[in-house]
Each structure stands twice: as C-alpha cells, then as structure tokens.
C-alpha cells in the first residue's frame, strides 16, 4: 500500500531541510511553522498520540480550522472519518469555491463554466451532507457567499438555513450576494430566523428579502446585525415589535422596510445601536443605550427617554441641503435627548438649525469630546452657544473652510463679555481643520482660543487640503506670535 508511512521519522524528514527550493515553493506559499522540534529516531516512532485524544479535544483542535480543511482530515484514518461531521461550528466561504487550484483559465474559456458548474455541484453536495444529514447539534453557522456563486441556488441555501435553525444553533452569520433576481431579492432567509429561541448572535447581510413577523421574538439574542436586506411586513402595515430582552448590540444598516408600520424598538438591555436605514416612524425605547451611531436622511427617529448612560453619539446627516422645518424640529428633539453624552460627533448636521430653538438646548454636562466635521456651523455665535452648554469640554475638533458663513461678521472679541467656562477650565486640546490663510476669520478664531484658553495644552491647525501651497512663513509667524493665555500651549501646524 502506497500510503504506509515510514517506520521512523528522522530529523531530515522535515521538509525545509530536505527538499530543494523549487519543489518546496510549488507545494505551499509559506514555510511550515515548525513548532515541533524534529523527532529523534526512538521518540515518537510508534505512537500516534493525536488520534488517541478524546473526541471533544479533537473538536477543539479542528474548530480552529475552516470547515473545508477540517473535512480533509476525514481520510487520515478510520478514527477520523466522522469527526468533522460532528463539529459544532461550520465555517464556509464561497470564495474557497472560486479560488481553487484547478481553475486556471479565465471566464471566456468554454470549460470555465463546466468547471465552475461541477465545483458548485460538489460544494452543494458537501454542505448537504454537513447540514442536512447530521444528527448532532450545531452551535455556529458561518456562511459567506459574496462571490455570487449559488445565484441560481436560493432554494438550496434556504433549505440549509431551515435545517440549521432546527438544530439549536446559537450563532448564525450569513452573508450572501446574488446577481439578478427579483426586485427585493429572493427570500433566502426563512422567517423562522426571527423567532428562533436558541440564537445568541444573528448577522444577516445580503441583497435578499426576509419576511418579518409582527413580533421579533428572540429570547436569547444578544447581537443582531442586519445589512442591506429588505424586510417585508404584511400589507396591514402593523407595528413591528421586539421581544429581545437580552439584546445588547443592534445594527440596522441600509435595510429597506417594506409594508412595515411603526417600528417600536423596545429593548431594555440595548447598549449599542447603529441605525443607518431610511424609515419613518421609528421610536426608540432603549434606556440603557451607551453608544449610538445614527445616519439619517429624510426621517428622524424619536426617543421615549433621555439616554442616561449614553457615552458616545455619532450623528450623520445625509440630507444634501438644509433640513426642512419639521425634520429640523425633530432633530432638535433628538439632540436634546443626548444631553448625557461624553463624546459627540455631528457630521453633516447644521449647528445653525440645531441651535435655533435654543430653548430646547440642554446642558451637556458630561461632554468632553466634541467633533464637528462637515458640520455647517454658520456663524461663530452658534459655536459659542454650544461651548457655553458644555462646561466640561476637554477636546474640540472643527473645520473652518465651508463650515462658516464667511460673510458674517467676525466679532469675536466683543468687549468684556464673559467667555464660555470650558475655556478657562477644562479645554485642553483644539484641532482646527481646513484652515484657509486668505481669510481673517481663521486667525480670529485661533486667536480667540489661544487668548482665552487658560488650560489649553495643544492647538493643532491643519492647512486646507484644497489649497495648492502649504503654510507660508508669514502665516506661520503670525500664528506663532499670537498671545497665549496658557504658556505651555503647544501649537502644531500640519
């Protein structure tokens, strides 16, 4: 039998000592990680300690390999034949389907399609065996179909998912990409996925659709990420409710809601929320929220509670022009609920419209880091109003060019007017981006902070990226010579 292995392993067996370089590079692309010291002639001669390990340890070892590789251990010996079939974690990627050694041609080759067709058949066969005909429970199912393979096999994929759901699975992480197909994409995910009792982590990503029940009931779920999907409600447009008492991390990114009424996000344990989908009538009831990333366009979600534990809020407005009146008002309402936040990032928002209704503006007593990039500030007074409301501010980042109405006056040093408290107390770092040398406003603003920032340690000024030249020596001189309240303050020009 050709397969019998040599009686004794000598040190010279290990490939890097033996083979000539050209042979070695054909076999693998990286050298063996030889953590094993070479076996001496007597040492491991007879014993196969690997196969002698109990099943659950073999599972542990194979769980660090992708499913495809783990499967190839089935022909090591009869002891290994069925091990991989009971592995509690399945990890498949159709990239492995595409990236095989056999395929050398390009797409125009006649046999390309035959080769791919054959491979696809083998792949489906393999997964069928692993998923459909198994008896042991499955704890994790990771499946990525990003290369568009299996576009014609949506029914097959759906059957795999149904089978997985019936095996007490805890983690489902599926990414699919299908080409062509119906408008909303095929219904690849069975709707039982949203009422599965055992799921702890659910991540679905794909240009496909999923029917939503009226109640999303996932009693053990902690993480839910939905990307790109279309959620199909029934045509009555009833409220979508959630019964996910343990849900901690929710992400709804570029999801389309079709025929879904009010979305009532009543999640008592939620600490992290990413919402980047266009949906009107969304109400948040998430009192424990700590981290919010919210990208909005034409509709603003509302909240039933002030976020007492919120530390980080990242708002991104994608509406191209000034927000219409009613939206601006709703945004102000939401903005007011963020008053306990420590880190605030307001990209694309307009400070001018947020602060117009300044009776709604709360005090941001915990705010230490404020980032205003691509934020329309309008007039200096709006920035000053915001600084007044954040007495404990430590770090401020904002941009000059295009963020200020340059025509508005530059009256920053009006007499003995009192300055915002944060300046004299906590503000230690300011970063000003998009500095334009030709406008006086920039110099006025820099001077303002330097003159009044008693605790300021560092002022970093970034030159405008669209300007052809860099810092002129006269500007450098002018900036460095501005009077500073805080003698230790470092000025850095980038």
């Amino acid at each position: 039998m050709a397969e019998r292995n040599p009686k004794c392993l000598k040190a010279s067996f290990f490939p890097q000592h033996d083979q000539n370089p050209s042979e070695k590079s054909a076999m693998r692309t990286e050298p063996i990680k030889a953590n094993l010291s070479p076996a001496s002639a007597d040492d491991n001669c007879k014993e196969d300690r690997f196969s002698a390990l109990p099943d659950h340890i073999l599972f542990n070892i194979l769980s660090f390999l992708r499913t495809k590789e783990a499967a190839s251990t089935s022909i090591l010996s009869t002891r290994w034949r069925y091990i991989f079939l009971d592995l509690p974690k399945i990890d498949l990627d159709d990239y492995e389907l595409v990236n095989t050694r056999r395929f050398r041609g390009d797409e125009s080759d006649d046999c390309y399609h035959d080769v791919m067709g054959e491979l696809e058949e083998k792949f489906i066969d393999f997964v069928d065996r692993l998923v459909m005909h198994r008896e042991s429970p499955l704890s994790e199912f990771h499946f990525s179909c990003g290369c568009g393979c299996l576009t014609d096999q949506t029914i097959v994929v759906r059957s795999w998912l149904s089978s997985v759901l019936s095996r007490n699975v805890q983690v489902i992480d599926v990414r699919v990409k299908f080409y062509g197909g119906e408008f909303w994409g095929p219904e690849v995910f069975p709707s039982e996925i949203l009422t599965c009792e055992t799921l702890v982590v659910l991540k679905l990503d794909g240009n496909v659709s999923l029917k939503v029940p009226k109640l999303l009931c996932l009693p053990n779920l902690r993480v839910l990420h939905l990307d790109t999907l279309t959620l199909l409600g029934d045509s009555t447009g009833s409220t979508l409710k959630w019964n996910c008492p343990l849900l901690d991390d929710l992400r709804i990114d570029l999801v389309i809601f079709c025929d879904v009424g009010l979305v009532d996000i009543n999640l008592p344990s939620l600490t992290k929320l990413v919402w980047a989908s266009e949906k009107d009538k969304v109400v948040l009831n998430t009192p424990k929220l700590e981290c919010l990333e919210y990208r909005f366009y034409e509709s603003i979600l509302s909240s039933n509670c002030k976020f007492k534990f919120l530390t980080k809020a990242d708002l991104r407005c994608e509406y191209p022009d000034a927000l219409p009146e009613h939206l601006a008002h709703e945004l102000c309402q939401l903005f007011g609920q963020l008053c306990n936040v420590k880190h605030l990032d307001l990209r694309g928002c307009s400070l001018e419209s947020l602060l117009r209704e300044d009776h709604l503006l709360p005090e941001f007593l915990n705010l230490t880091h404020l980032v205003l990039k691509w934020t329309w500030i309008g007039s200096w007074k709006f920035l000053e109003i915001l600084l007044w409301s954040a007495p404990n501010l430590e770090m401020l980042v904002f941009e000059l060019m295009r963020q200020f109405d340059m025509a508005s006056g530059i009256h920053l040093h009006c007499g003995a007017k009192e300055k915002p408290h944060c300046l004299s107390q906590h503000l230690r770092e300011v970063k000003i981006m998009e500095f334009v040398e030709s406008h006086q406003l920039g110099f006025e603003i820099v001077s303002y902070f330097l003159k009044h920032g008693a605790g300021l340690q560092k002022m970093t000024i970034y030159h405008s990226r669209t300007s052809p030249t860099k810092w002129s020596s006269s500007t450098r001189k002018k900036l460095m010579e501005l009077s500073r309240c805080s003698r230790n303050c470092e000025i850095v020009l980038i």
Binding site: R4, I32, L36, E47, S74, T78, L119
Partner: protein, 145 residues
C-alpha cells in the same frame, strides 16, 4: 498554599488564588477535598510543572496583553509528545485558556499540510482500504479540491 501531587510522586506548592485557574482544582477545594494535598493521578511531574508555569504567569501578568502573548508563543515551542501531554493535562485540570492555546497550536501545525504530510508528522496509520479511501474522497469531493 495548595499542595499538588503528580502521578509520579512529585509535589508542588502553589497559591490557591493561582491554582483556581484550574476548574478541577477549584471544585476540589470547594468540596473540601483538599485537606492536606490534592492528588492528580492523571498528570506526571514534568507536565504539571509546565502547567503551573503557565498559570503562574497568567496570574501575575494578567493585564499585560503583549507580555502574555509572547509568553504563550514561547510556551508552546515544545516537542510533539510534550504538547499532547499538556493538552491532556489542561483538559483534565479544566484550564480553558491553556487548552485553547495548545489546541490552536496543533491546528496551526496542520493548517497548510496535505493529508500525507499530517499522517507522517503525527504517525497516523492509514487503515482505510484503497476502495474506502477513494469512496470517501468522492463523497466529500469538495473538501479535497
């Protein structure tokens, strides 16, 4: 301090706070089976010494992520027989971190090898008939692409 007895009669002293990284030892202490010393008939002296080295380091340098990473990398540079001894000991003593570390090490070693190479390195005897093996290769065809 806890006293541990290996299978071959060696004794080791270790602080209780360190020893409880082993769930097995922890339960024995809780169940009051640890009056004088704890017998560990499934672990020999050499291996127990290595395991104690691991848990002592992980107790004292708990927050030093970088330091622990390089310690772990060096720790697993042992011969095959010793590695399997440590795996079995970590399993018996129920020390998850050590078990995962050693299992990952073995997985890394077989990762890019062919089946023949794996058999050779671990002395696995192929007891399939040629027909059986051919059938298996066909049944799970995609895994061997």
């Amino acid at each position: 301090m806890i006293v541990l007895n290996s299978s071959d009669g060696a004794t080791f002293e270790v602080e209780e706070s360190v020893a409880v990284q082993s769930q097995t030892i922890k339960h024995m202490i809780e169940d009051n089976c640890a009056d004088t010393s704890i017998p560990l008939p499934n672990v020999n002296g050499v291996t127990l010494a290595r395991v104690l080295e691991y848990i002592k380091k992980h107790a004292e340098a708990k927050d030093d992520e970088e330091g622990l990473k390089s310690f772990d990398a060096e720790f697993v540079k042992v011969d095959q027989a010793s590695l399997f001894e440590i795996i079995l000991a970590a399993n018996y003593l129920d020390i998850k971190g050590l078990l995962d570390l050693t299992c990952q090490t073995v997985a890394d070693q077989i990762k890019d090898l062919t089946v023949e190479e794996v058999r050779a390195i671990f002395n696995i005897m192929n007891d399939f008939t040629p027909e059986e093996e051919a059938k298996l290769r066909n049944d799970h065809a995609w895994a061997f692409e």
